[in-house]
C-alpha cells in the first residue's frame, strides 16, 4: 500500500541553524501539507501546497519557514533559523483530489530537537 515517507526520523540541530525536512508524498496525490505537534499538544496546521504554490498557511508559518517541491516526488519544509520553540514532531501529509477524497495520509513524522 502506498504511504507517505519522511526523512530524517529525528533531527537534532542548534538554535539558529537551518534545517530541511523531507517528505515523499503518495505518488498520485496533488495536495500536500505540513503539520507540527509540540510534545503533549495537539497537531497544528502549518501550510498547504497545491499546483506548485502555497494555498494556505497558518500564523505559525512565518518568514522563517518555506516549502518547496523541488522535483516530482519530494516535498520539503525548510526552517531558516531554528528557535528552541521549533522543537516538535513535524508531519507531512498528502491527499488525492479524485472523487472528493478528503482523507489525508500522514507520514511517520520527523522529530526536530533544537538545542
Amino acid at each position: 500500500e502506498p504511504e507517505v515517507t519522511q526523512t530524517p526520523s529525528h533531527q537534532v540541530t542548534q538554535m539558529g541553524q537551518e534545517v530541511i525536512l523531507r517528505c515523499v508524498p503518495i505518488s498520485n496525490h496533488l495536495y500536500f501539507y505540513w503539520y507540527r505537534q509540540i510534545l503533549g499538544q495537539k497537531v497544528e496546521f502549518l501550510v498547504s501546497f497545491y499546483n506548485n504554490e502555497i494555498s494556505e498557511k497558518s500564523e505559525i508559518f512565518d518568514d522563517q519557514f518555506s516549502v518547496e517541491r523541488p522535483d516530482g516526488s519530494n516535498f520539503t519544509l525548510k526552517i531558516r533559523s531554528t528557535k528552541l520553540e521549533d522543537s516538535a514532531m513535524y508531519f507531512c501529509a498528502s491527499r488525492s483530489t479524485s472523487g472528493g477524497a478528503y482523507e489525508q495520509y500522514f507520514g511517520p513524522g520527523t522529530r526536530l530537537t533544537v538545542t
Binding site: 501539507y33 495537539k42 496546521f45 498547504s48 494556505e56 508531519f91 478528503y102 500522514f106
Partner: protein, 112 residues
C-alpha cells in the same frame, strides 16, 4: 476559538469493553475525521464522516455526527490492548483548502 475539542482527555478501560470518545467543534464543517496516533508515531486515518451523514461504521468503529450540536462521537467496540493510543478528531472546515483542525485528543488505555 478552539475547534475540535475531545473529551474525555484520558480513558482507561478493560479489554472487551467499549470506548466512547466525544468531539465538539465550533464552525461549519465539510467533514469530520478521526485519527489514531500510537505513542511517538504518525497519524493513522480511521474514518471520515461527511456533514450530511449522521452515522458511519467501519469494523469495530462507529462514528456519529450531530451537526446541530456540532459534535461527534467515536465508539470502539470490544476493545483490545492494541487499541491503546491517542485518538484525535479533525475537522475540515467548509470552503478551505483542505487543512485539518485537530482537537487535543483522547488518550485511551486498554488494559489486558
Amino acid at each position: 476559538s478552539q475547534q475540535g475539542e475531545e473529551d474525555p482527555q484520558a480513558l482507561s478501560i478493560q479489554e472487551g469493553e467499549n470506548a466512547t470518545m466525544n468531539c465538539s467543534y465550533k464552525t461549519s464543517i465539510n467533514n469530520l475525521q478521526w485519527y489514531r496516533q500510537n505513542s511517538g508515531r504518525g497519524l493513522v486515518h480511521l474514518i471520515l464522516i461527511r456533514s450530511n451523514e449522521r452515522e458511519k461504521h467501519s469494523g469495530r468503529l462507529r462514528v456519529t455526527l450531530d451537526t446541530s450540536k456540532k459534535s461527534s462521537s467515536l465508539l470502539i467496540t470490544a476493545s483490545r490492548a492494541a487499541d491503546t493510543a491517542s485518538y484525535f478528531c479533525a475537522t475540515l472546515v467548509s470552503g478551505n483548502t483542505g487543512k485539518l483542525i485537530f482537537g487535543q485528543g483522547t488518550t485511551l488505555q486498554v488494559k489486558p
